[in-house]
Amino acid sequence: MTSLMDHQARETVGYSFSESTASGVKQHGFYPYTDNGGSTLGITGSDFAILAGDTRSTSGYNINSRMVPKVFKIGGDDETGEGANIILSVVGFAADGTALKERLDTVVKMYKYQHGKPMTVSACAQRLSTILYQKRFFPYYVHAILAGLDEEGKGALYSYDPVGSYEREQCRAAGAAASLIMPFLDNQVNFKNQYIPGSGEGHALAAKKAEPLPLETVKGLVRDAFTSSVERHIEVGDNLQMVIITKDGIQEVYHPLKKD
C-alpha cells in the first residue's frame, strides 16, 4: 500500500517523458577486470637475474589451463624470443598482462630499429613505468617485474605496482602468493632476522650482512618458494617456469609442481 501511495504522490508531474531520470538511472554492472591468480618471483645475483612464475591460470575456483606462462622475453624474435636481453613477468589480470607485454615488446623493438643498439634495462624500466602511468585512471591490473643485466653486467631487477611506481631491488615476489613468498625472501636473500652467532649480547649482536648469492643457491630458493606456496595457496600450482638471464643469454626451464 505504501508503494501505491508513493506513485500517487509523484502523479502531480503527470507525464512520463517530462520526469527527471535522476530518480533511478539503471546502473550497469560490467566490471572490466578479473583475477587470473598465480604468482611470480624475481631474484638477482652478481652476474645473473632470475624471473620465475607458476603456469596455472584460474578464474574463481576453476583452473582455466595448467600451461599459461607468465614470464616473457622482451624485444626478441616473436616465436623463439632469440635476441632478447630483457625479461618481464606479469601477474594479475592476464589480458592486461598480455597487452602490457606486447606494448613493451614493440617499444623495445622500435628502440633497437631506431637507435641501432639494444635498449638498456634501466631505460626499459623507466619506459615501462611511463606505459603503466599513462593508464593511471584505467590501470593495467598487473604486478610487473622486469629483469636483465645492467651496464656493469650485474643482475638488475625492477618491480612495479599497477600504476607505474617502481624501484630496483634484489628480490621481489608478486601475485597471489606474494605474501607467502616475500617474507621467506627477506629472510633467505636479504638475511633479515639473521645474526652472527657469538658476535655479542643484546643490541651488540651483529646482523648478518646481505650479499649476492650464487646462481645454484638462488635456483634452490625459487623452487623452495614455489613448492611451499603450492601447499598453502590454491591459485598456485601445475608448473614452475624459470627464466635465467646471464651474459651467455637467456635460459628457460620448466619444473612440475603439484596439480591439486
Binding site: S3, L4, D6, H7, Q8, R10, E11, V13, G14, Y15, S16, F17, E19, S20, T21, S23, G24, V25, K26, H28, G29, F30, P32, Y33, T34, N36, S57, S59, N62, N64, S65, R66, M67, V68, F93, A94, A95, T98, A99, F138, K259
Partner: protein, 260 residues
C-alpha cells in the same frame, strides 16, 4: 484528448502507478550492453590425433525461457577453423558478420585466405579486449579450433574481457564445471594427444553434452558438432542426443511428480 503520447495505452496511473521514466534514458550517461539478453550455454572442445572436435547445443535462451531451439552456434571460418560461441547471440551474429567480411577481404588476396585458427584466435581476443577497454563488451566466451602455423591441432579460448588460454580440452560456462572433469578423466593431461583417436574424442563430447543436458537447465538435447582435420571440416548441425537415461531422476525430488 490526451496530447501526450507517452501516456497513451498505459494502465491507469491512479491504479498502477506512474511509468518508471528511468527506462527511457532521455538524459544521463550513454550506456552499452550491460548484460546479455539471448544467450547460448556451454561450448566444449577436445584435441585428438590429427585434429580438434568442438560441440555446442542448439539452444538460445532468453533468461530462463528456451527461446530459439535451432541456433547454430558453431561457425566455420575460411574452411580452416571453427569458432564455438557461448554468451550473447546477437553479439555472436555481429562477430560472425565481422569474420565473414575478413574472409571475403582475405580471399581477394593472391594467396586466398591464409589465416589459420591461431591467427583467428589472436584477432578475436584483440577484438574482445578492445571492446572491454571501451566499456562496451561483446558478451561472449568463445572456443577457437583448427590448426596453428605449424599444422598442429589448435584449441584456445577467448572471453568478453579478452582473457585467453589454451589446453588439450576446454569448456565454457557450465561446461567448465561439468564437462572438463569428465574430459580430464578420459584424457589425462600426461597422455599425449597423439594417443587420442577421433572416435574417442567425438564420443567423449557426446557424453559431456548428455551430462550437461541432465544438469544444465539452459541446455538442449539437440546439438552441433564439428570435427576439424587437415582433410577439412565435418560439421553436423542437427544432431540429437542418444541413449539418455533418466532413471536416476526417479529418486530425486523435483524431477517428476511428487508423492510427498
Amino acid at each position: 484528448m490526451d496530447h501526450f503520447p507517452g501516456t497513451w495505452g498505459r494502465p491507469r496511473n491512479d491504479v498502477y502507478g506512474a511509468y518508471d521514466p528511468s527506462y527511457l534514458q532521455s538524459t544521463g550517461p550513454k550506456t552499452h550492453t550491460t548484460s546479455p539478453a539471448v544467450t547460448g550455454t556451454s561450448v566444449i572442445g577436445v584435441k585428438f590425433n590429427g585434429g580438434v572436435v568442438l560441440a555446442t547445443d542448439n539452444l538460445a535462451s532468453y533468461g530462463s525461457l528456451a527461446r530459439f531451439t535451432d541456433t547454430k552456434r558453431l561457425r566455420i571460418f575460411g574452411n580452416k577453423a571453427v569458432v564455438g560461441f557461448g554468451g550473447d547471440v546477437s553479439d555472436m551474429q555481429y562477430i560472425d558478420r565481422l569474420l565473414e567480411s575478413i574472409d571475403i577481404r582475405e580471399n581477394y588476396s593472391s594467396h586466398g585466405n591464409m589465416l589459420n585458427a591461431k591467427n583467428l584466435h589472436t584477432y578475436l581476443a584483440k577484438v574482445f579486449y578492445k571492446r572491454r577497454s571501451e566499456f562496451n563488451p561483446l558478451w561472449n566466451h568463445v572456443l577457437v579450433a583448427g590448426f596453428d602455423g605449424e599444422g598442429k591441432p589448435f584449441l584456445s579460448s577467448a572471453d568478453l574481457l579478452g582473457t585467453t588460454f589454451s589446453a588439450p580440452h576446454l569448456a565454457t560456462g557450465f561446461g567448465a564445471h561439468l564437462a572438463v572433469p569428465i574430459l580430464r578423466r578420459l584424457f589425462p593431461e600426461e597422455k599425449p594427444i597423439e594417443e587420442i583417436s577421433r572416435e574417442e574424442a567425438v564420443d567423449a563430447l557426446k557424453q559431456c553434452l548428455k551430462v550437461l543436458f541432465y544438469r544444465d537447465a539452459r541446455s538442449l538435447d539437440k546439438y552441433s558438432i564439428a570435427v576439424i582435420t587437415q582433410e577439412g571440416i565435418d560439421l553436423k548441425e542437427d544432431e540429437q542426443l542418444e541413449g539418455q537415461s533418466w532413471a536416476f531422476a526417479e529418486r530425486i525430488k523435483g524431477y517428476g511428480a511428487q508423492t510427498v
